[in-house]
């Protein structure tokens, strides 16, 4: 059971990190610049925030099948495949939250930062620093989305004992076998895990709120 919990953390943790690397630059670009087709991209990101994990799982499966376009990588039914699927689920969530976080900043503040003589890259960095608290919500939402999803992990991971079995797929498996007590125990552990990670992030986020 310990191994299952650790694999869950490993897969969803790395998927969250990777989705931050994609989602934050994407979200801040969409929030701070204007270019033709920007609204289309924003609507795609918003759609991605609500994309059903099973559909993502199906698409990733098609790509990773042995005779699929990326079959040569032999990733199907591996933790790597699960990370890929979870990144695709999480990065639009992170991008969407980042977009909202930088857009709610005072546009005049941006003018002031520009007036201080910063370059474009420095400006984006300062705006992200300014939005750091709402950005933690992006981390929480991204992690929450992937640690709790089951459809994609099942489809691209396969719920193989000792290899790709994670908390959510294990709960589904035990439940279907009638092992309700084990399913409940796993659920409690999963909830506790989500709570602890969120608690840590919330502590950081709310640290400076008390005056």
């Amino acid at each position: 059971m310990m191994q299952i919990a650790l694999l869950s953390l490993l897969v969803s943790g790395s998927a969250t990190l990777l989705s931050l690397l994609i989602g934050i630059p994407l979200g801040s670009t969409l929030g701070l610049t204007r270019f033709p087709g920007r609204r289309i991209v924003v609507s795609l990101v918003n759609t991605g925030m609500g994309a059903p994990p099973v559909v993502v799982g199906l698409i990733v499966s098609i790509f990773l099948w042995r005779n699929g376009p990326l079959g040569i990588l032999h990733l199907m039914y591996s933790p790597g495949a699960m990370i890929i699927a979870q990144v695709i689920i999480a990065f639009p969530v992170v991008a969407g939250f980042t977009l909202a976080a930088v857009q709610q900043l005072d546009p005049k503040l941006r003018l002031q930062i520009t007036a201080l003589g910063v370059s474009k890259v420095q400006m984006v960095w300062q705006m992200l620093l300014e939005a750091r608290l709402p950005l933690l919500a992006a981390v929480m939402a991204g992690f929450g989305a992937v640690i709790s999803e089951v459809g994609a992990s099942m489809m691209v991971g396969g719920n193989i004992t000792g290899q790709t079995r994670v908390m959510t797929t294990a709960i589904v498996g035990e439940d279907s076998k009638g092992n309700f007590s084990l399913a409940i125990a796993l659920s409690v552990i999963l909830l506790a895990l989500v709570y602890l990670v969120t608690l840590a992030l919330t502590m950081i986020q709310q640290r400076n709120k008390i005056r």
């Binding site: 005049k108 003018l111 007036a115 201080l116 910063v118 370059s119 300014e130 005056r211």
Partner: protein
Amino acid sequence: MNSIPLTAPRCVLEANNLSIILGGKKVLEISSLQVRTNEVLVIIGPNGSGKTTLLLSLALLLKPASGTISYQGHSINNAAEILALRRRLAVVFQEPLLLNTTVWNNITLGLRVRKISGEEIKARTEKWLERFGIASLAQRQSKTLSGGEAKRVSLARAFALQPEVLFLDEPFNGLDSPTRQALMEDFGNVLRETNVTTVMVTHDRNEALMMAHRVMVLMNGRIRQDGTPSQVFSYPIDEEVAGFVEAGNIMHGSITSQTEGLALVDIGGQQLEAVSELAAGTNVTMFLHDDDITLSIPQSEIKHSSARNQYIGKVVKAFPIGSQIRVTVDCGISLVALITRRSWEEMGLKQGQTLIASFKASSIHLIPRR
């Protein structure tokens, strides 16, 4: 170093044929504007006149639809030049616009991006925190500051950059009266000490009177008048400008004595009484609103009046403004009074007529002269 031309004051910033279009509407059209080295230029105008837009475009924060802006004779073209030049300027906005971090980090950000050495950053930051009386706030989070404190931080942040030109957009707006007064005093002293070339935008003519070497009146996106404060306020170019600057009497003099808050002011040989706490010997600019002056025909004897100042003079000029008439009376000093057309008619006034101009000591506004 360029040699300084002897004929004209050196010009640090110049805008030519500048036009700015916002939302399809031309909001600014400036044929020519120069900012001279070490001057304090105050641009005044009513709300919506384009003041802020003009300031932003001069500070290279708003791209004009057409026209050129040049610094020290070089015109600015590409993004790299704009960035390099922005690093020689500083802008203070109406709101303090501080970053959500400590006061110290707020002040050092502009210095850090300029790649100034750590020692120098520390020295300058300490100096300007001290100068604006906020040294004790250095480690405070900006969010915990009061409005006045935040404003001081934003001013210290600008001065720490040692800009070649300092831009200010209504910097004293939105502060309560004592805070505002204290800040204006400190800011005025710093301006005098640093001698930094300054462009300030405001709708408050008292600020212009206190700070400006030169005043520009901006209305409907065009410069309507450009001159010294006393030229602009005493001799507005037309009715519209006069209506905005609420033209009054501006005179220079000095306080000869002051007892219990009542000062005797010498203006061109005439003694005036004014309510003021300023000490004897202070050189002052006197401001007297034109509709605070009452004109009356001398009767057999002058009645007792609560107006501390009464002078006999002659009407030298009368100029109608709408339903009112601006009457210039020569009483040794030249006073401009605003009276209604009806008063003018009922009193049967005419040029050369002798009358009494009276006004209260509390109507006079005295400002120490720079």
